[in-house]
């Protein structure tokens, strides 16, 4: 690879897991935990992406992506450096939103929600997982109930109405991770959402 093909080579190659096996096991445990307990925040660290992506989102990508998962980078995070970084560390192909297994970006940049795959009744798992970047952890504005939640949990959601529609598609629909700095939370399609509360 010649220098002209890559924008800033150091950015692309650095920031991977120091100990890939251990770090991805930790990353996977965090991802599984937050998905199993919707509304719970957990810290997730280990990877550093080029500018524009939080540490939690970067770690999530390195943990979950491989050459067989298509990744969609929304406009607000998409950059040549990030594309190079993702390709070097995971080998994941970059695909349009409609074909994505994983989609990364801010909420507004990822919309509309119905452009992502929701699976089909034979294979509900063939759906997209969204990694939604939140600039900050805001005060909760929605109440969550459902599997994995003892009574109810509270979480800030960027657009409760759209996510309620997503939950109504169950067992189809998309699953979401919310990342902010070094923290991650999740909202699987099985969770029922009540606005405010």
């Amino acid at each position: 690879m010649t220098a002209s093909m890559t924008p800033d080579t150091t950015d692309i190659y650095s920031g991977g897991f120091a100990d890939p096996a251990v770090a991805s096991a930790h990353g996977f445990r965090a991802a599984m935990d937050v998905m199993a307990r919707p509304g719970t925040w957990r810290s997730l660290t280990g990877a550093r992406a080029p500018a524009g992506l939080s540490e939690a989102a970067a770690t999530l990508l390195l943990t979950l992506c491989d050459p067989e998962t298509g990744v969609y980078l929304a406009q607000d995070v998409d950059s040549a450096a990030l594309r190079g970084w993702l390709t070097f560390h995971t080998g994941a192909p970059l695909v349009p939103a409609t074909e994505a297994d994983f989609a990364v970006g801010g909420w507004d940049a990822l919309m509309p929600l119905d452009q992502f795959r929701i699976g089909c009744s034979q294979y509900p798992d063939r759906s997209a997982t969204l990694v939604v970047e939140l600039p900050e952890r805001r005060a909760p504005n929605a109440t969550l109930t459902g599997p994995g939640i003892k009574d109810s949990a509270r979480l800030y959601l960027p657009d409760s109405a759209a996510l309620q529609r997503n939950a109504m598609l169950y067992p189809l629909g998309v699953d979401l991770f919310f990342t902010s700095g070094a923290d991650v939370a999740a909202l699987p399609r099985s969770t029922q959402i009540t606005q405010g509360g």
Binding site: M1, T2, S4, T9, T10, Y13, D19, P20, F88
Partner: protein, 150 residues
């Protein structure tokens, strides 16, 4: 610090380092004046790759078979990044290959070329010739005598 290098040249030395004998590479590496320190970007990892070929170099691609490859990426002092892809599971060889790849992109290139690449190149050519000569010795020429046909 990284000067423009033609992909063709780089391909040449990557190939040479990938197929070099690990012990020989280690011996040659010891002849370098001051091998730089490095920092890992991707620690050596071993995996399988599917080798594909094209008949005559132009036909439809076909899978030739899987082979074991060890790869790593590192950054040497000065910031130059080097990649090492070698056949087999020798992690040290991958490390040396990556380090030499990085050095070949810096001012140390001449020294590496002279003390490591050219001996390796000569040896590889000699191996190839010896094998070709051995094969040539077994060549049988068929010819037909004039048959007594009317």
């Amino acid at each position: 610090m990284t000067q423009e290098i033609s992909p063709h040249r780089r391909k040449g030395w990557m190939s040479l380092l990938a197929s070099a004998d690990a012990a020989r590479l280690e011996t040659l590496f010891a002849r370098l004046d001051a091998p730089p320190a490095h920092e890992w970007l991707r620690v050596p990892e071993t995996g399988g790759v599917m080798v594909r070929g094209r008949t005559g170099g132009t036909g439809a691609p076909f899978n030739l078979g899987e082979m074991t490859v060890t790869r790593c990426t590192l950054k040497i002092a000065g910031g130059t990044v080097g990649h090492g892809y070698v056949q087999g599971r020798n992690k040290r060889q991958a490390e040396l290959a990556a380090k030499l790849d990085a050095m070949l992109q810096t001012d140390a290139a001449e020294q590496v070329e002279e003390r490591i690449l050219s001996p390796l190149r000569t040896e590889r050519a000699a191996r190839k010739d010896a094998r070709a000569a051995k094969a040539a010795a077994t060549k049988v020429d068929f010819f037909t005598m004039v048959r007594g046909e009317d």
